[in-house]
Symmetry: D2
Subunit: 142 residues, 4 copies
């Protein structure tokens, strides 16, 4: 599972706080943005509306991040996502944040495949074969 997906973004003013650095909550936004960008890159979407009115999605099970060095306004942040584990019902990603050679933060995001039927609670399901194939093809592409 060596393949990685990456995106670059400029740190925005709104993302800074009065300490003059990126507020830590933004890293969780970017983890999700990288996950969704990755899914799109393999032809999937995190909100897949089916013909029966239900939706297949990947709600978060947990997310953690370790902050190693601060990032600042207008710096170029490289966000690199790698699949850490594909379970029957879950996908776990590792996400690395860097500015040039400097490691900024390191996060882990665990998501569970769920089916949403309007008006009912989420139900955790096995990841559909069509998803698995696309994700696994990606992982073996390297």
């Amino acid at each position: 599972m060596a393949s990685t997906y990456s995106m670059t973004r400029t740190i925005e003013f709104v993302e800074t706080d009065m300490a003059g650095i990126v507020h830590f909550t933004n890293f969780y936004r970017w983890m999700e943005q990288a996950e969704h960008g990755f899914l799109r890159s393999v032809g999937l979407t995190v909100a897949n509306h089916l013909d029966d009115g239900s939706t297949i999605g990947f709600p978060r099970v947990s997310a953690s991040c370790r902050f190693i060095s601060p990032a600042k306004f207008e710096e170029q942040l490289l966000v690199t996502l790698q699949i850490q584990r594909i379970g029957v019902k879950s996908v776990t990603y590792e996400i690395i944040f860097a500015v040039g050679e400097r490691l900024v933060a390191k996060g882990t995001l665990k998501t569970a495949c769920c089916q949403f039927v309007p008006g009912q609670p989420f139900e955790s399901i096995a990841i559909p074969e069509s998803y698995l194939t696309k994700i696994q093809d990606y992982c073996q592409a390297d």
Copy 2:
């Protein structure tokens, strides 16, 4: 229409930016928060799910804010909302932000009453009588 609804909140760290003051986007969050708090205070909700599966809501038509003086971390912000105009299909609010005697910002929020039917575009509707009564009672309470 003299009656006002108000709420107080402590400025949070996440709401500041690298200039050491509240980032301007937060004022729009607070305008909406005051609007929804006001609606709850008269027994209404901004997302009213009806038995037929549709929802009555009040999407924003426009929102503007003028920034008069900066607000800082841990200051106590007083947010005061007043109804400026009730139209057939819209409600316009004026919202004043102050820290003690100091005027911080002044905003206007115009919302339109709409009905949401799943899978269809919003449809603008006349504000239901039951809503009007509660809002008007409030306005005349003063």
Copy 3:
């Protein structure tokens, strides 16, 4: 002043709300992002640290936005900024949001040139010549 600056962005999941569309507060983030992107494109920055320890910046005087049609998850939003007016101490921008041919929103952002000396209140100043030249060159480039 016909020249425009534009950027494209994918609507993120975090930017949606329970009505299934982009939450209105995001448009103010994107107005600022377009402003800062424009300033960078002409070799300026919104937070210019001078040798004397002070900073030249452009705090917001006011921001308004009119919401015309909803934008949804994974749509491609085109944000187009145009300078509406350059005053002695202020710059006013108009920002248009569109998804393909569909107009989504239209905003106005007025900023004032200010000097920040640590520990002192902001002071509004005339826009420095070096800034004016770069902005005006841009406007006449068309």
Copy 4:
């Protein structure tokens, strides 16, 4: 260390996403809000400006959260913070999120005491005696 600090908040519309539930990034905002509320409750602040121009603060080392059940618009969320560990240079908090009897999420936040001197990188320092006393008094109050 049994003492806990708690706060209640109404889930706001802006905090929901298109899945109709609270977006997970908000839990990290609330963890920090609870931490800062706790510090204020014992007479401390997370941004303590000293006479020598430096600031004592507590930047985040890491933050993680496990999401157990969804929270929805206008639900009353109870956020309960407890100190898990006080180190020489760090404080670790556990934060529990609940709606009534229903457990919603469980987070951990590790912060490091740092001194900020303008223009220099942060420096990790031992937690000052005056801070330790107030925090420990609180923990033993139970």
